[in-house]
Symmetry: C2
Subunit: 165 residues, 2 copies
Amino acid sequence: MMLRISKLTDYGTLVLTHMANFPDRLFSATDLAATLGLGAPTVSKVLKTLGRHDLVRSVRGLHGGYALGRPAVQISVAQIVDALEEQPFGLTECSASAGSCDFEHDCRIRANWQRINGVVRRALEDVSLADMVSPQPMVAGSDARPITGPQSIKGRVAPDQESAR
Amino acid sequence: MMLRISKLTDYGTLVLTHMANFPDRLFSATDLAATLGLGAPTVSKVLKTLGRHDLVRSVRGLHGGYALGRPAVQISVAQIVDALEEQPFGLTECSASAGSCDFEHDCRIRANWQRINGVVRRALEDVSLADMVSPQPMVAGSDARPITGPQSIKGRVAPDQESAR
DNA sequence: ATAAACAGTACTCTTTTGGTACTGTTTAAG
DNA sequence: CTTAAACAGTACCAAAAGAGTACTGTTTAT
Ligand code: FES
Ligand code: FES
């Protein structure tokens, strides 16, 4: 698709947001999966990756589980994305790789894409997990305008969703 | 991948940018392909789609070709993306579809994603084709910060790129 | 009439992503 | 000290999306 974060990342924000509601509790992967209606192995995978980036802290053994690695205020969406995509960052191929398409003009294009990337990235950095759960109406300098296009993708709750037609 | 525009869209900006340099000329698809080092059928495809959205105007018959559908200043990157992705817009599944994951909290998350979407979209709207070719140093309210991470994707010039190792 | 160029459709191949299975390690509880 | 609940890691598979190509038709200056 396009300009979409991957489902895994989406799941990540879901899970983390849920955990942020009870900063003290310890959540088992299976528990979270059941609560959120996701596949257990999938949630496990996500949590493991998040752990590698210190966004969650894990306690092993019986009665183990996961907890946020640090206060929700200190976890930005950008960090979640970075963790789960394991991908550089940049909307275009060449907004990173120097000397890909240097054939005719001295690529002013790349510079522009990089600027765009900057804006996008900052948007992601400006929203924290804490913002996700609590009101916190507006982000710093930007007033949300109603989206122009849209609305009508799929559904997220993949498993056992029948009926309805 | 992630937060990436599709290659087709990337090609689109390339092509359009090139055309913007000579607002009067008429470009044949094969001509453009040769100049930019892309596959002829691919360029054709892109141009056709762009035509459907009036970003380019086509002249059929012998000596035909393509030209910008309107002044470069009036073509934003957002429009190019919209045209070539034929996709709503929104970084997440549910930042659009109402009632996907309405199981526990009354989804404040979605609202937040929509705000993020707004910022991203505006970033794309604020850059025009004209900006791509001419200096035009800064976008309105945002000062470009150097990208944090990165740099090291692939190469765009797909065909016949050998050697180098 | 012809050839250059756009228009449209349909198909195939490759890559990416999402998801699952399996095997190992840790640790409280009995 | 045995056991079971839970995390850790790897590897694999299947489905979907992307990208590219081929083919057939239509338009029009020469
Ligand atoms: S370097 Fe990427 S468009 Fe030129
Ligand atoms: S509606 Fe999408 S996260 Fe709740």
